[in-house]
Symmetry: C2
Subunit: 214 residues, 2 copies
Amino acid sequence: MFAGALTATQSHPVRTRGVPAPSFLPRARQISLFAPEGEIYAQGEQAGALYRIEFGAVRVYRLHTDGRRQIVAFYFGGETFGLEAGRTHSFFAEATVHTGLSKFANAPGELASQELMTLALRSMLHAQEHLLVVSRQSAVEKLGAFLLDVAERQGDLDHIDLQMTRVDIGEYLGMTIETVSRSFSKLREEGILRLHGAKTVEIIQPEKLVLLCK
Amino acid sequence: MFAGALTATQSHPVRTRGVPAPSFLPRARQISLFAPEGEIYAQGEQAGALYRIEFGAVRVYRLHTDGRRQIVAFYFGGETFGLEAGRTHSFFAEATVHTGLSKFANAPGELASQELMTLALRSMLHAQEHLLVVSRQSAVEKLGAFLLDVAERQGDLDHIDLQMTRVDIGEYLGMTIETVSRSFSKLREEGILRLHGAKTVEIIQPEKLVLLCK
DNA sequence: CGATAGATTGACCTCATTCAACAGGTGTGG
DNA sequence: CCACACCTGTTGAATGAGGTCAATCTATCG
């Protein structure tokens, strides 16, 4: 039945917007499937491989000593992740929903290639953007900036598919699930967005949201 | 008299700990001097060059639309900065104190070199570490983690030379100067550190601080 | 040695967190 | 296909940490 989910999801065109397909990497033989909460790699494991998301979504996070989780990035269909500074992973990577990945063995000699450089700089830029969002003062602004980011990456303002729980969003933005929920409600009450279920968001007044968050 | 400050500072050995000298880059002819608040580059300017700090300190920041400043990194003696994702700078770089820099013209063809890759991955890692610090819950923990970072990079726990104002620290950690000051006071009251003037910090109980922040 | 920017401390207030109860939606088994 | 159970999300009230405004102190530089 997960195989069913696979074909069903794949029948949608995989979004590749923003991140070009890593043509410089050897073609992956097959797609690995991950159930929600499924671990892709763990902190301490040997790094080196790259992963391209065919469908689904992934969270990359780290654990604080007090047990709290800090999600440093989400990745969606068409995006590539897995590049890290050291030889071993400093982060955990897990699927947030049913997810299909292409894995690329990354030969160490290839590390200096232009494309990998681009990927590293992109990751750096993303971390800095994330920093700007998290250091934003108000909870509503944080959530708004997050939603705009996701909408842009998914290429559709009218139909954002969150593919993650309020817990995930909270751990990404550095706030509690209650505050996340309240912020959604505030944006809804102000007529900026509409919720169709908890995970499908429609942005009605993008201008207002941009004005608020950018 | 600034020339005097130059020789005086240079008589101290320039710390190169953590960041190897960029031997892969063409030797710089001379050292450029910057007064406190002096602009090194601005957002929108053409990027490409790298800078090595001979003495002094640099802040790299970005402006929010509401005018607030978000400092994304500090750099100290021996460290190299200036690498960015795009062709133009997304950030501003300014000296926080009297600073001397070696500028390296960065030939575009060299972009794929192993050493630049290392620099990019280091920047990525730093941005992610910074994110973890800022998303830490309490103000005292943020400041403690920051001090440990600076102490490690300067290689001396007993004598941290901050080389920046409370405003800078606040804009780096995402809190007000009052909260920064109060956090310093709390750490002092708990006997973890001692202040000799506002910018010279002596960490008396590093274990306690590590326990609190790491 | 005086002027001035930077830093500290206090009082008050706002807003996110915490704790708790409730509602809704999803998935499972009958 | 329906009913129940559980997980997820929402909302409310009380608490507390950090922001804001303001006054005072002090370190540094001319």
